[in-house]
Each structure stands twice: as C-alpha cells, then as structure tokens.
C-alpha cells in the first residue's frame, strides 16, 4: 500500500500531462520543412553571406522557398550537387570563382598626391577629397578588404597594394562589397589572363597617374573582341561564354595592364620590377616576330602574285630580311606607340 500510492500518484500525474501534451500537439503544432535541416547540414557553415542571406540557415530556408541552388560559392560544385539532390532538382555546374583585385598600381607605379591623416581605412580615406592617390580609381591599400576576409586571403605588397591569394580564397565575396572603389571582382578560378586596372579616366589622364594603367588603346579588344571589351575608357575581360584566355594579350598591352598568370605569378608580377623589364623584352620580341610574320606573309602573297605574274623583279623582298634586326630597338619605341 505504501508503495502503491506514490506509484499511482506519479503515473496519474504522468498520464494527465501526457494527454495534455498530446492534445496540445494536435492543436498547436507548427509544420516545419525537414529539408531545411538537411540543407543546413550540407552547407559549408561559413556563414559568409555570399549567397545574400545572413547565414547558411537563412539560405537553407531560402532554398526550400525556391531560391537559386548555385549561390553558395564557398561550397562550389559539390555543394550544388548535394543541394540539388535534397531538393530533387537538376544539378547545375557552376564555375568556381576567386576574388581578384583589379588594380596593379602600388605606390611605386601610381604615386600618392598628398599625405592622408585620419582613420586608416579605405572607406574613411576616400571621404577626404576622393582619396590621396593620384589615380582616383586605384587601390588605396588600407585594407578594408583584408579586414572582412576571414580566411586571410588578402595580402599587401610593400607598396600598399592589395591582392588576393587565390588558393586561400573561398569566394565569399565579402571583399567585393568592402572595397569602396569597387576594385574587386569575382573571376573564374581557371582563367589566367586578367586586366589589372579599373580606371575609367581617358588614357591621357591615366598615363599621368599610373605607369601600369589601362589606356584604352583597344589593342586587346581588336585582337579578340569576344574576350576583351573596352568600356568607358577601360579594358574589361569578358569571362562569360565564348571567351578565352588570349595567350598573346599580355604581349600586346603597351602599358602592361594585362596580367597573364601563365607568364608571371601574382607576387612577381606586382612586386618585381624585373618582371616588367622582362615583359618589355618579351613584348618587343613578340612584336618583332609578328612583324616578321606579317612581312613574310606579305612576301608570300607578293611572291605568289609575282609568281602568277611570273615577273622577274625580286629586289622587293629585301626589307623582310632587315626587320629582325630592329628587335633591340623595339623596347624604346613601345611606350611611344602605345601613347598614341
């Protein structure tokens, strides 16, 4: 008896509560999509905001509501596949991207016009007379991008120029938003040829403020209009369908605004003055070779013509032989030509 009472009381209480809860569950329940949880599990959990949602769980809810499945850049293709599997939609292949600072103008090539005093952030510096760099488009180098980068992928050259270490970048695109000069663009990871200049000033002005700025001479876009386009005094690389890494682009760009990762790695390109000298030589060689080729073609055509005409005068072919000799002079001429 003494044992029975407590047992009865307790089980009675338990039963009453259980019934109450069961009733409540029936009337007060709120449905939740189980897929949300599954999605949260497979998302990378970086909470970087690249998708436009405040966090991974936000994106997960958005996905259930029908959001685009390709928005998670840190996760890359694998995540897209997983998401598609959970949602039961077709997987799309996405191009993996990486952030790129589209400016090569450190203080060594693009000087400051005055000394800025104040909070050492780019966003504060540009408020004071549009920044103290002569080039009003270039990188200020105070590191707002590095500040928001949680993967320490942004580094700086000795001359105060930011660049993104591609291997460390997870493509969260936070730096893109942080840069007050909109210098950072998300570019496909596998592309090698980029224009490192964002100046929209006319070439005449750009040339005065930066040694490596794009002067919109159109040499690149003329060579491949599908990969380069000149917009508002600035050469822009097209990364979309039908474009390619133009292998000769770096060799024809007179100011050296085009960076070809196949030729120079990023740090060398941005910091080593030798690279520029080397490029000039390469450009000269390339130009000479092209000229020679053109001349040869011309000669061939002429020869063909002549052969057709079956004429006897062969003295005309002489200049083609003389041209390769000009190679050594070419570097000096380069800037002059580009300026025009």
């Amino acid at each position: 008896m003494s044992l029975l009472v407590p047992i009865l009381v307790l089980s009675g209480l338990g039963a009453a509560m259980g019934v109450g809860l069961a009733v409540a569950a029936k009337f007060l329940s709120v449905a939740e999509d189980p897929r949300v949880e599954a999605l949260v599990d497979i998302l990378p959990g970086a909470n970087c905001g690249a998708c436009g949602y405040p966090g991974c769980s936000g994106y997960a809810k958005g996905l259930v509501a029908g959001e685009d499945v390709t928005l998670c850049s840190p996760g890359g293709n694998a995540t897209v596949k997983d998401i598609a599997a959970i949602l039961g939609v077709e997987a799309v292949t996405v191009v993996e991207k990486v952030a790129l600072v589209k400016c090569a103008g450190g203080r060594n090539v693009a000087p400051d016009r005055s000394l800025y005093v104040g909070p050492q952030t780019c966003r504060a510096a540009v408020l004071v007379g549009f920044g103290n760099k002569e080039c009003r488009w270039g990188c200020i180098g105070l590191g707002d991008c590095a500040e928001v980068c949680e993967d320490d992928a942004v580094e700086f050259t000795a001359d105060g120029l930011a660049y993104v270490v591609a291997d460390a970048c997870i493509a969260c695109a936070r730096c893109v938003k942080a840069c007050p000069r909109d210098l950072i663009e998300m570019v496909p990871k596998d592309r090698k040829v980029h224009v490192l200049c964002s100046s929209h000033d006319p070439g005449k002005i750009t040339k005065n403020v930066c040694q490596v700025g794009c002067i919109a001479c159109k040499l690149c876009s003329r060579r491949d209009g599908k990969s380069f386009v000149i917009e508002d005094n600035n050469a822009t690389v097209l990364y979309g369908e039908g474009s390619r890494d133009v292998p000769t682009a770096a060799l024809i760009c007179t100011p050296g605004a085009v960076w070809d990762a196949n030729m120079y790695d990023q740090v060398t390109w941005l910091t080593d003055p030798e690279a520029r000298v080397h490029l000039k030589e390469q450009q000269a060689e390339f130009k000479a070779a092209e000229r020679a080729e053109r001349a040869a073609k011309k000669k061939k055509a002429a020869e063909a013509k002549k052969a057709k005409e079956a004429a006897a005068d062969k003295a005309e072919a002489e200049p083609a032989v003389g041209k390769p000799e000009k190679t050594e002079e070419a570097p000096d001429q380069e800037p002059e030509k580009g300026a025009e």
């Binding site: 005093v117 909070p119 050492q120």
Partner: protein
Amino acid sequence: MSVSFRGGIHPRYAKELASDAAIEHLPPPDRAIVHLSQHIGAPATAVVKKKQEVKKGDVVGEAAGFVSVPVHAPISGKVTDVGLYPHPFGSMQEAVVIESDGKDQWTDLPPKAQPDSLSGEEIKDRIRNAGIVGLGGAAFPTHVKLSPPPAKHIDTVLLNAAECEPYLTADDRLMREEPRRVVSGFQALQKVLGAANAVICIEENKPEAIGAIEKAVSKAKGVRVATLHVKYPQGGEKQLIDAVLSREVPTGGLPMDCGVVVQNVATCAAVDDAVRFGKPLISRVTTVTGEGVANPVNVVGRMGTPVQTFIDAAGGFQGTPGRVILGGPMMGGAIHKTDIPVIKSTGGVLVLTPEQLPSGDFESCIRCGRCVRACPIHLCPNEMGNYAEVEMWEELEGLDVNDCIECGCCAYSCPANRPLVQLFRYAKLWIRQNQARAKTAESKDEK
C-alpha cells in the same frame, strides 16, 4: 543684446590675421580652368568648343535643369580644352580651359537697371542667368531658393553675416567696404520673395561691419540688424534661424518649411551686381589666411584661378605648409595640391602649419559628454561615433545620424581626438547607398 542657440563651441577665431587687410583685386589669370560643376545640382553642359574665342562673361556652360546654373568665362581669350580636370573636392570633373588674350574684355551685358524698376520675376531671371549660387559654402543655386512652392509662405529673409568660421574675414571686409552693395542685393532678394521681415544677422565680433551695415540700412524699410553671440556654428542656417527667430527647421526639411530663406553676404553682393549691372558671377572675395602664409589678405579673384595664385598673393607659404584648406578650418575641405582652380564656393584659402594640425591617432571614447554639449543639433555624437566605428548602421539611423550637419563641433571638442565627422559622413553615405540598394532590389522584385 545678442542672441544665440544651445550647443556650439568657442574655437580660436584668429580673425585678426586678415581682418585689417582691405580687399585687393587679383589680376586675371593667364589660364583659367573653369569647372562646369561649381554648384550643387546637375553640372552645367559645355556650350563652347576647342579654339573658340570667348569674352569675359560669355556663357561657357549652360544650366542643365532647374537645380543648376550657367557658368561664365571669367576672362576673355581662347578655349584650349574641354575635359576632365582636378576639382577642389578631389575628383576629376569636366572643365573648360580658357587661355587669356590679355585684353580682359567684357561681353555684351544686359542693360543696367534699378532693382525698383524690375519685377520679382525679372530679378530672379537676372540672378539665374548670372549663375549665382549660395556663396557661403554650399553653393546651392540661388534662384531655386527664391522659388518656394506656392504652398509655402516666406515671411522672413535672413542675411547670414555671422561668418562664424574661424580665420575667414571675406564677408566682414565686404560689409565694411561695400555695405550699400550688400544691402541693396539683400533688398532685391526680399523683393523677389515678398517677405515682410528682413534681418541682417552679424556676430558681435565685427563691430565695424555692424556699424557700416546699420548706417546703410538706416533708410531702408523693414530691414533690421540683429547682433549674434560669438559662437560656432552661429552661421549655420539652422542655428541662425533658431537664434534669431526661435524657429526650428523641421527634420529633413528646408528653411522655407518654417517660412525663412537665408542668404549669404557674398551672395547678396553678387546679386546686386547681377541685378543692377547684369554682371555674371565670375569673381568673388576670398580670404587667404592662416599661419602658413606670409601675409594674409582678402582678394577678389576670378573663378578658375589656381589656388597657388591666391597663396602667392598672400606672400607665399611661410615655412613648410602643413595643409591647404578651401574654406574655414571647421568645415572646409583640404586639397591635395595647390594647382587646382577655385570655384564659386571658395570663400577662403587657409594654410595651416604642420604644428597646428591635429594628429590622426585617436583613442576610445571616454564618454565625457563634451560632444553632446557641443552638438548644435542636440544629437549624441558619442554613441553615434561608437556605433559608426563598429558599423552598426541600424542603431546609427536610430540616433538620427542623418540629421548631422557635419559642423565639426563634436570632433573639435573630443579629448580622445576621435574623427567623429568623418565617421558620420561615412555612415550617412553607407545608409544612403543601402537605401538605394534596397530600392533597386524592390523594383527588381516587382518586375
């Protein structure tokens, strides 16, 4: 009996440097870079071409819309270029470059007239055609201020002669030397607006100017002089209205929302030139002062003259210059180089020595409340500064950062040397951009 507002600071005025220098005229420059954007609103559109001959006073840029004014050639000569040139605000802006022919010849001006014989509309037309903007610093087109919507009745027009910015003496000199011109221009504005009351508001520290103006208005009807307590920013539009009329400009509104229009001394002088002689605004009085120049002066200079010319007129730099500021030390903007041309709103060229400049290093807020007591808008710069530093925008908006007039009182009084104004500027910019972003996103959604 002087009047004032709550808040504000008492900086070192240093007006004595230039206040005794009578106004001199700078010779016309050999080459003038005339910016098409010398005012708030749409930049003027160039109407001259390279190699075109222009005479002094010819229109080189036409107003692009209502909130815009024409720009005139300050010298006679040949247009050598129309292109991008460094602007005093730091960016590159479109400008017309005129090479002088040395003759300095006026173009055909509209006929001379007496303000009494002209109707309000005619006066307004002359003002607009003369390209007159508010010369106090904001450079807001004057004719726009003179065209209140019909629903808004303007009963008072104020002449802002406080000149509360330290160092500057241009308005003071102008009132002392040409009080009649100032008063006449002011009365023309009163006539356009049909305002019953007109008050000329001068800070107490300019007794000569007060005397001269009082003499000039002794015959004028409906114009009175009010003396103001010496305090910065007494010449702020909102503070002036509060001090003189005990009215408050509603948040987000304009002075006309409480029945007031405020005009500046130099503007009135320019208005007088335009109304009486049809002369466009191509020159103005500018104070060249500061411890960094040898011999502070007040000069009349043409728009488009390089800043360096002004500095040379003041005897050049004295020692190593630390900073060159267009305007006063509280709200003026520092310039990067001295080869940039002046524009209509350049009322002062101030050169400070490196020793005078505050350091850029700052510390944490210690919540001493000096900024709170100094803020003329009665905001909470201390909290706003803390939020701005960690970029908590919602909180900032909640603290009315958008009401900040960037007068600099808070940063001036901050013992921790915090760059409050700069932080608020950034915050305002960010909030504005964010709103624009939200709007575009919304319109996208609707589509």
